[in-house]
Symmetry: C2
Subunit: 312 residues, 2 copies
């Protein structure tokens, strides 16, 4: 089938598309700037703003399923709330409604976020944890989960919202993510550069490698048409990792000195990104989603991506 990937030139989109091609899907890719996709074989490219009707119309042509990654992320949404609303809310409602008119009942996979839980988080997080977003970004994602569940309840779409944990290792370029430091530590140690982290060594976070999240998104295209919870939204399993353990494992695999990493905790970031409690993602596991397995595998997988990108 033909899968439309929005936000396709982004970090996750670029990891997802080769996997979808491998699995025999035809692809349409859309993003504001598709330069990164030039030369990609077998991909129909629609360059444009997803908030524009013309872009959506061209992108949706012939699509049998959608993976909607395009978003204005956390930090950027706080700085530009109106732009965030246009992309995260308006464009998402339009894209989903327009796709439902063209292909009633077809899979629509939505990249939601653990930001829907807000902070401080409860002592554990599970499928019953109520949503309580704190950031504009998290509120937008929670609202779209509601919208997509409604369209699914009406038989118009087979939507599945996946709440993504921290994904590593994002490219070093500015991403608009408040949690970018979580990826920066991979790049710094790979380059044997010192880095100061804004969270403590005891800080815990939920992580997944970009290759693993790509596998989850690909799996969601199938899972979307199976028997899903009423909310049509699941929290992806993730490894709960302390910064200390992450730095040790990175240093070990890279032969780098862990002393390159220093910590100067910022209270807001420590609270927002460093206090992740144990996570039970039972609904996702029942549906066949999984995390990286263990820290060694996660770090190895993330580093393969870092190192292949940094070689010419």
């Amino acid at each position: 089938m033909r899968v439309l990937v929005t936000g396709a030139a982004g970090f996750i989109g670029q990891a997802l598309m080769p996997l979808l091609l491998e699995r025999g899907h035809a692809l349409t890719a859309t993003d504001r700037d598709c330069a990164a996709l030039e030369g990609a074989e077998g991909i129909r490219i629609v360059e444009g703003d997803i908030a524009a009707e013309a872009t959506r119309r061209a992108a949706l042509q012939g699509a049998d399923a959608v993976v909607h990654l395009a978003t204005v992320p956390g930090g950027a949404a706080e700085e530009h709330p109106e732009l965030a609303r246009l992309v995260n809310v308006d464009a998402t409602m339009h894209l989903s409604s327009e796709f439902a008119c063209l292909r009633r009942g077809a899979p629509f996979v939505f990249a939601s976020s653990i930001a829907v839980f807000g902070h401080p988080l409860p002592e554990t997080v599970c499928d019953e944890t109520p949503l309580a977003p704190q950031m504009i970004y998290g509120a937008h994602k929670a609202m779209m989960e509601t919208w997509l569940a409604t369209l699914s309840r009406r038989g118009k779409l087979a939507a599945l919202s996946l709440r993504l944990p921290g994904i590593v290792a994002r490219p070093p370029a500015p991403s608009g993510m408040k949690s970018a430091f979580m990826s920066d530590v991979f790049h710094a140690l790979a380059a044997q550069r010192p880095i100061e982290l804004p969270i403590s060594t005891e800080a815990t976070t939920w992580l997944m490698s970009v290759d693993q999240v790509a596998r989850c998104l690909a799996h969601a295209l199938t899972a979307a048409t199976t028997n899903l919870p009423e909310s049509r939204a699941i929290t992806l399993p993730a490894l709960r990792v302390s910064m200390g353990d992450l730095v040790s494992e990175l240093a070990r695999q890279l032969g780098a000195d862990p002393a390159l990493v220093s910590h100067k905790p910022d209270q807001a970031l420590e609270q927002g990104f460093g206090r992740y409690p144990p996570l039970t993602a039972a609904a996702a596991e029942r549906l066949g989603f999984s995390h990286d397995g263990d820290l060694t595998t996660l770090v190895g997988s993330a580093l393969r991506n870092v190192i292949s990108k940094e070689k010419p």
Copy 2:
């Protein structure tokens, strides 16, 4: 304080404003067509579309609190989903954000709806019942509850979303409400006219008189700044009434023949509006909200409104 009422010329707005004036508030009223408000003393009127920034700017001037009633209701939202999105989502997000910039932390009362629960409803509904809207209208309301709770969590507003049950008796004019028949039976019996209802005599529904909902909305202006549930949304208490009992009580108070009412159940409407289970609205009751008390009081209150409107 000065209270802005949106959708002020509507059925609920017109019942609310005299009550707010009585309690010593200054009022700004906004609606697309304010003809119904002409001659009202002590009310600043801003006629215009709430989806237009200029209307909102003029309306918000000097406001210390907002009661946001303007909406595209259930049936109309199904027919005009894009208009519904503009009013129920965009305008609500804009109005709340703009008000938060002007009057940080001030009360913002939002008329949500029991449509957030969808149908079929579970065997009982309580404060823990998950939202599962079926109609576009219910989805929009649920999304705005999330948005307003986020703004409140951030200290920007003191929002309180009240989920309104069926309100009687709406005027006989087309309201865009799928449940309009619930009010039409009041008008028909008051005029000794026969009426055919699209739900059965056993159908149960949650009702509140318009004067009672006005009291709840006025109370919400105070309750919004107290200790609220994390969701900042509560289901209002309502009387659970069977159509048979409602018709008998109406006929009794009006000296009308209950045989004027016949029933020809429509499956969709019976399922959507005639299967309301027992309701426990504990959170609302703790906050001091209440229903009409009993069916005799509810019918009497609703009929006072019907009869005063029908006299020249």
